[in-house]
C-alpha cells in the first residue's frame, strides 16, 4: 500500500524536492556548509542520496533531483549575493548624499541589469556598472542644477548688484557671480 500523500496549504501533494528544500532551510549554517562540501565533492550521486535519506529523512527518487537542487542552490546564492550588494550600494549612495528615493532608482536599474544578464554574472555586473555610472552622473547633474538654482534664489540681491555694475565686463561679472554662488 502506498504512503498517504500529504496535502499542503496550496492543495498539492508535497514533492520530494519540496521536502528536501524545507529540510535544507531548517539546517544550521555549519550543517549547510557540510552538505555544500558533499554536494561539490567527488562522491557519487547515489551515495549522497543514501546519506540524505539517512540523515535528513528525505528520499530523493533519482540522481537528477540532486542536479536540480544544485541549480536551485546556485540561484539562491546568486540572489543572496545580489541582496548583499544592494544593501551595500544603498549605504554608499545614501552616504554620497542621495535621498532614499534616488538611491532606490539607481539600485533598481542595477538589479534589472543583473536580472537580464543573470546567466552571465560577469556581464550582469559589467552592464549594471555602466548603467549605474550613467544614472549616477545624470542624478549628480540634476542635484547640481537644483542646488545652483537654490543658491541663485538665496543670493538674488547680490547677483543683481553685480549685474548692474556698468564697469565690469561680462567675464568679470560671471566670475563675480561664480564667487558669490560657490565661494572658495
Amino acid at each position: 500500500m502506498s504512503a498517504k500523500i500529504k496535502g499542503t496549504a496550496s492543495g498539492r501533494p508535497e514533492t520530494a524536492m519540496e521536502r528536501f528544500k524545507a529540510a535544507w532551510k531548517k539546517l544550521s549554517e555549519p550543517s549547510q556548509a557540510y552538505w555544500r562540501e558533499q554536494l561539490s565533492s567527488q562522491r557519487t550521486q547515489a551515495d549522497l542520496r543514501r546519506e540524505i535519506k539517512a540523515k535528513l529523512k528525505v528520499e530523493l527518487p533519482a540522481d537528477n533531483y540532486l542536479t536540480r537542487f544544485r541549480s536551485w542552490l546556485d540561484a539562491e546564492d546568486q540572489r543572496g549575493v545580489m541582496a548583499e550588494k544592494i544593501e551595500q550600494r544603498k549605504k554608499e549612495l545614501l552616504a554620497g548624499g542621495m535621498t532614499l528615493e534616488e538611491a532606490q532608482e539607481v539600485l533598481l536599474v542595477e538589479a534589472a541589469a543583473y536580472s537580464t544578464a543573470a546567466r552571465d554574472f560577469k556581464l550582469g555586473l559589467k552592464t549594471s556598472r555602466e548603467i549605474t555610472t550613467m544614472k549616477a552622473g545624470a542624478l549628480d547633474r540634476q542635484k547640481f542644477e537644483f542646488d545652483a538654482a537654490r543658491a541663485c534664489l538665496a543670493k538674488l540681491p547680490e547677483l543683481k548688484a553685480v549685474s548692474d555694475k556698468p564697469k565690469l565686463s561680462d567675464e568679470e561679472k560671471a566670475k563675480a557671480i561664480q564667487q558669490i554662488l560657490f565661494p572658495q
Binding site: A9, A75, A83, E84, I86, Q88, A111, S115
Partner: protein, 85 residues
Amino acid sequence: MTARETSIAAAILDAMHNYDGGQAHELTIHADATLIFRVEIPRNEFAAVFADLNRRGAFLGVATEFKGTLWSLTPRGEKIRQEMK
C-alpha cells in the same frame, strides 16, 4: 484592485514563484517582475501592490544582518497566484 494593479500583482507573484521556494531582495523581485510585465513598473505602484499582497499573507519576510529583508512566497501567496490565473 484595479486591472493594472492585478496585472502587477500577477507579475510579482510569478517572479516569486520562479524562485521555487527561494528568497530575494525586494529590488530584485521588482526587477524580475518588470521583466515579466515587459514594461517598467513604477516604484510607487510596485511598493503599493507589494504591500497589499504582503498584508494578505502572500510573502514571508526575513530580516538579515547584511542583506536587508529577504522575501519568499508563502503557500497562501501561491494560492493567490493560482486564483489569478
